[in-house]
């Protein structure tokens, strides 16, 4: 759907909040905490599509809000949002999908965010508060000036802020120990934080099913490479700031996707021949599958080498 940008509000030097509304004022579909939307950004010849967690109230259909961190080294999606999008613009926004939902069977929810990883939890807190479910949130940031999440977080006793510059780093084991039976923990942030939580959980005997995580969804830039599509009888060059998926779309090849961040599995594509090394960036394929180089996730993964032939 095409939605109008109703407001653009800087939250910190690097993070800006955008609010989208229906141009006719119609109500938008409601969602659940942790859901994301894919925003379409027409950029010259191509359309960039980036996924952003919704930070508005899941039960409020009057608009959708996202918080975007400017990644100067990224492929340009976030930079586009920061430099080219203004109040009043119309942008394509997909329907919400949730790949990081709360497990509502849990007795208690422990939410752990690092940096911009706070975004999915903003809507989840609203959902948990409305359902009157026990939770605690730990928000970690390097410095107070970078902590854009502070502007989004409600003033609740369940919200704990850890600023490492102020000597107040979060200790994953301390957060996870002593939690009542039936607690689920969710981590969103840099890989290091996700790994530290998984580590602490394993040491404290947490079952894997109670530890959830989402890392940032952004296809990394890289060196350009060529790819051959057997079914479409095409050979393409994937640009440095383009993902393989975006290159497929630009060439008019029908390629499925859902998260565009390497977590949902929707875009999985069979590799027919590969002379070189696939740079797997996804969290979908397991280590053996990655090593076999017989499957690739075009939304985030890249290639270096002689030739790559895909079943598309």
């Amino acid at each position: 759907m095409m939605l109008r940008v109703a407001s653009v509000e800087p939250l910190s030097p690097l993070v800006t909040k955008f609010r989208f509304v229906h141009p006719d004022g119609a109500a938008l579909p409601l969602f659940s905490g942790g859901a994301h939307v894919v925003v379409e950004m027409p950029d010259g010849e191509m359309i960039r599509r980036n996924a952003y967690s919704l930070v508005s109230d899941p039960m409020d259909g009057s608009g959708y809000e996202i918080a975007v961190r400017r990644e100067d080294l990224g492929r340009g999606g976030s930079l586009y949002m920061h430099t080219r999008v203004a109040e009043g613009d119309l942008l394509g926004v997909g329907a919400p999908a949730n790949l990081f939902g709360l497990d509502l069977r849990a007795r208690k929810h422990v939410l752990v965010a690092g940096g911009i990883g706070i975004t999915p939890f903003i809507a989840q807190i609203r959902q948990l508060t409305r359902l009157q479910l026990p939770f605690e949130l730990h928000y970690c940031a390097r410095s107070r000036s970078e902590a854009a999440g502070l502007a989004l977080l409600p003033d609740l006793p369940q919200v704990h802020v850890h600023i490492s510059d102020e000597g107040n780093r979060m200790d994953p084991a301390e957060v996870l120990s002593g939690q009542p039976l039936g607690t689920h923990a969710y981590t969103c942030g840099p890989e290091g934080l996700v790994a530290a939580m998984a580590d602490a959980g394993a040491r404290l005997g947490w079952p894997e099913a109670a530890l959830h995580s989402e890392t940032f969804l952004a296809p990394p830039p890289g060196k350009p490479f060529r790819v051959t599509l057997a079914r479409s009888a095409l050979t393409l060059t994937v640009g440095p700031d383009q993902s393989l998926l975006e290159a497929l779309e630009a060439a008019g090849v029908d390629a499925p996707w859902l998260c565009r961040g390497g977590v949902c599995g929707q875009c999985e594509t069979a590799v027919l021949s590969c002379h070189g090394r696939i740079e797997h960036h996804d969290h979908w394929l397991d280590d053996d599958e990655k090593a076999a180089q017989t499957k690739i996730m075009p939304c985030v993964s890249r290639f270096q080498g002689q030739d790559l032939i895909l079943d598309r």
């Binding site: 849990a106 939690q179 009542p180 039976l181 039936g182 005997g205 079952p207 099913a209 109670a210």
Partner: protein, 200 residues
């Protein structure tokens, strides 16, 4: 040593893989009857499991109580029946933290009910270790009147609540910790197959 071996069946039929030590973590251990042997083997294999263990024991006519106490658990409690020890179990589960290991050993009815209590208290299925010891008797729910008949040893059997003749299915309710019993002569009233002893 890892308890009774059962005939492979449908997916819903629980399997009891045998107790495996989760190390020196807080633990709740429930042993009924010969299930005590499983705890003894567990402690023999890894004495560290007993350091923070709370053993709840239902002797059920066996004399293993003293041997269990000698394993040196942090807490030991004995009661005559499962209903008698349930308040103790519920309190232990209510006070427990994430990372607490649960070990259950005994007959199917007890394993099923204790597992159901644990799941309801928020324990993840993966944190429960079970081992079967004792007879093959089943705890059966009549799918017609919903009454539960304990210690069913024949197939078919007569529902102790509504009196129907019930066929013993392998379909198992995790919520109730009971197998399902279905009317055996619904199509041809009165034609009831000969009773057979239930085997593992």
């Amino acid at each position: 040593m890892a308890g009774t071996a059962f005939t492979p069946s449908i997916l819903s039929r629980p399997v009891y893989a045998g107790l495996v030590s989760r190390g020196a973590t807080p633990a709740i251990m429930l042993a009924e009857g010969e299930g005590a042997l499983a705890l003894m083997a567990l402690a023999d294999h890894d004495p560290a499991v007993m350091g923070h263990a709370h053993i709840i024991h239902i002797p059920a006519g066996t004399g293993h109580g003293a041997a269990l106490q000698a394993l040196g658990p942090a807490m030991y409690h004995e009661g005559p029946t499962l209903p008698a020890v349930l308040p103790r179990l519920r309190k232990a589960l209510g006070d427990a933290h994430m990372g607490t290991a649960l070990y259950i050993a005994g007959t199917e009815g007890v394993i099923g009910q204790v597992t159901a209590e644990a799941l309801a208290a928020g324990v993840a299925a993966g944190a429960i270790s079970t081992e079967h010891h004792g007879g093959a008797a089943r705890r059966m729910q009549c799918v017609h009147c919903k009454g539960i008949t304990e210690d069913v040893v024949t197939d078919p059997f007569i529902c102790s609540h509504c009196g129907l003749s019930l066929f013993v299915r392998d379909h198992f309710s995790r919520r109730l910790g009971a197998f399902q019993g279905v009317c055996v002569d619904a199509e041809t009233p009165g034609q009831i197959p000969a009773m057979q002893e239930i085997r593992p």
